[in-house]
Symmetry: C2
Subunit: 343 residues, 2 copies
């Protein structure tokens, strides 16, 4: 059995010191990190981007199948994704944790290992946070601060008629990964010796458990000299994010079913589960891909970009938001979003 050190042996200040002692600041903009009343940053002439996420056990993650190291990694990355979606670069995070006695010091070390790994890969500093007791489940709140040049910040509101709609990577995989994990968890119930069958499904599992943010896409756009007219990250599903852009840009859209990028593992899994593949890709969520619009003149440039697909175009608002199916029908896009409070 692995080592278990009770949190009580360290106490509050001891625990924070223990978890944060290995942190080394690497960004020139991080003037002062953990250990004072506030972190101090210096962004000089760049603009500051701030985003925050609250993750609660049982709602956003299930520790039955989400290892704490992966959870730490994912919790950081989903915040980086929001900064990239502004065409910015994440630079710092603060991390607040609510934890109960059932967690050991080693558990929290694993969580911090995941956080730190993500921060090392994406070049981000952990500059502050708060650790406190929780009466029930684990609560994780991360705030990410990033920078962008003033003229290069991309909002959701800048899409124009005739702009091309582009998306990175592929969609629906993380959602199918979650369905698979849930199925295995149900099967596992009551069985002592159970080995879940994950072979050939590694990609969709990784998309669910250890997603990446599209730093590479933001870098490619910069290299190509493209500043998108609008951008958002796909966290609630393609459909929902398209509607955000349309609403805030006062535009409409047409996307083409045949252009929506879907991995074969996602398709195979949807078939096994007897689920509609396109619905999965439109509404699955947790893809953390970038959805953006560019002027028509950028067509050749974006077509050449690795991992980017043109899936449709921006229209006048009066034309609504539709997906054109393979057989030429038009289906209206609807936001599914999150509705945990309805259940």
């Amino acid at each position: 059995m692995s080592k278990r050190t009770e949190i009580a042996t360290l106490g509050e200040f001891g625990l924070i010191d223990h978890l944060t002692q290995r942190i080394q600041l690497k960004n020139a903009t991080s003037i002062k990190g953990v250990g004072d009343d506030a972190a101090v940053l210096d962004y000089k002439d760049k603009q500051t981007l701030v985003t925050t996420d609250l993750l609660l056990e049982g709602i956003h993650f299930n520790l039955m199948y989400c290892p704490l190291k992966h959870l730490g990694y994912k919790a950081a990355v989903v915040n980086f994704s929001d900064i990239y979606a502004m065409n910015g670069t994440p630079k710092q995070i603060t991390v607040s944790l609510g934890i109960s006695k059932r967690f050991s010091v080693e558990d929290l070390e694993s969580f911090y290992d995941g956080l730190q790994l993500a921060c090392d890969i994406y070049g981000v500093d952990i500059v502050g946070g708060d650790t406190s007791a929780s009466l029930t489940g684990m609560a994780i709140s991360i705030t990410c601060i990033g920078e962008a040049e003033k003229e290069k910040v991309v909002y959701r509101s800048g899409a124009k008629e005739t702009d091309l709609i582009c998306v990175s990577g592929d969609l629906g995989a993380a959602y199918m990964g979650l369905q698979l994990l849930e199925r295995e968890r149900q099967l596992f119930k009551g069985e002592k010796e159970f080995t879940p069958d994950f072979s050939g499904k590694e990609y969709i599992l990784e998309r669910q458990l250890k997603p990446e943010a599209r730093k590479d896409i933001v870098e490619q756009l910069a290299l190509a000299g493209i500043v998108p007219t609008a951008m958002i990250d796909v966290s609630d599903g393609l459909s929902s994010e398209l509607l955000h852009i349309s609403k805030q840009s006062n535009t409409g859209c047409r996307i083409y079913e045949e252009r929506i990028p879907i991995d074969y593992q996602t398709a195979a899994m949807a078939e096994q589960f007897n689920m509609n593949l396109v619905t999965t890709a439109l509404n699955g969520g947790e893809d953390y891909e970038l959805l953006f619009t560019v002027p028509l003149t950028c067509h050749d440039k974006v077509s050449e970009m690795k991992g980017v697909k043109v899936i449709g175009h921006v229209t006048n608002a009066s034309l609504g938001n539709y997906m054109v199916t393979r057989d030429g029908n038009e289906i209206e896009l609807i936001a599914q979003g999150w509705n945990s409070l309805k259940e």
Copy 2:
């Protein structure tokens, strides 16, 4: 009975729109607030301060005696206090909420009313956040961003031997307010018609339920041309905060029992509860006063400042951290801090 609108009638996006629609940005540094992947701020040549706090129901607050409007006010103010403790000015907050079905839309409106009131009084913008379901209690995570001129940021680490130790306001009142509320809650149990007896105890209740951050002290210091050598806000108790300054400044301290500012309501309540008054003032916590050190040459200036008291001086680290009692004995200062995880 007051109106109760179920959150489910609005849905996620509807709820966020509803709660944030009245928000108007007032600071020139707030470029873009709620409604995109991240908020956009522009601090130009000033440094950026970031602090964050996670408040969990049952640990940090009890809705039995803490009205939601007060909770919203307090949740904002305790973060402002951290920014003032860096000698900065709070400018923006992001607010993440985890809520269960037992809360109505009206409940959340009350919470936001409290937040907004605090933001109006202190000149702060709400620029982002996240609202999600919670399986159990309420979770509140607030991140506050503020600014300071580069040369005027005050850390915990700058105290020097012979510096004067100053504290604002008075100590121990919030803690005694909490004791009173807890007593009345115990008495209330099982009783249908119960009117708690709070007359003559308004000050300690207000200190607990609706604390203020010491904006005025930071302004007075600026007017007097004083940049403290070290500063911290008193959230975990005077004793604990003095030890933070000593540890980070590599110094020691002597404070004088007779100099510790205590309100008469605090003293009366401690007497009723048969509690040691000085222990209460040293370890009570949640005072949100400012504890700071200034060079000896500032003696006359700080002595004249309203609401500031000199309580001791900084010594060489080898002399340790002690309180000199009224009868001339020396008692070593110990950090009590938070130890909810020990229970």
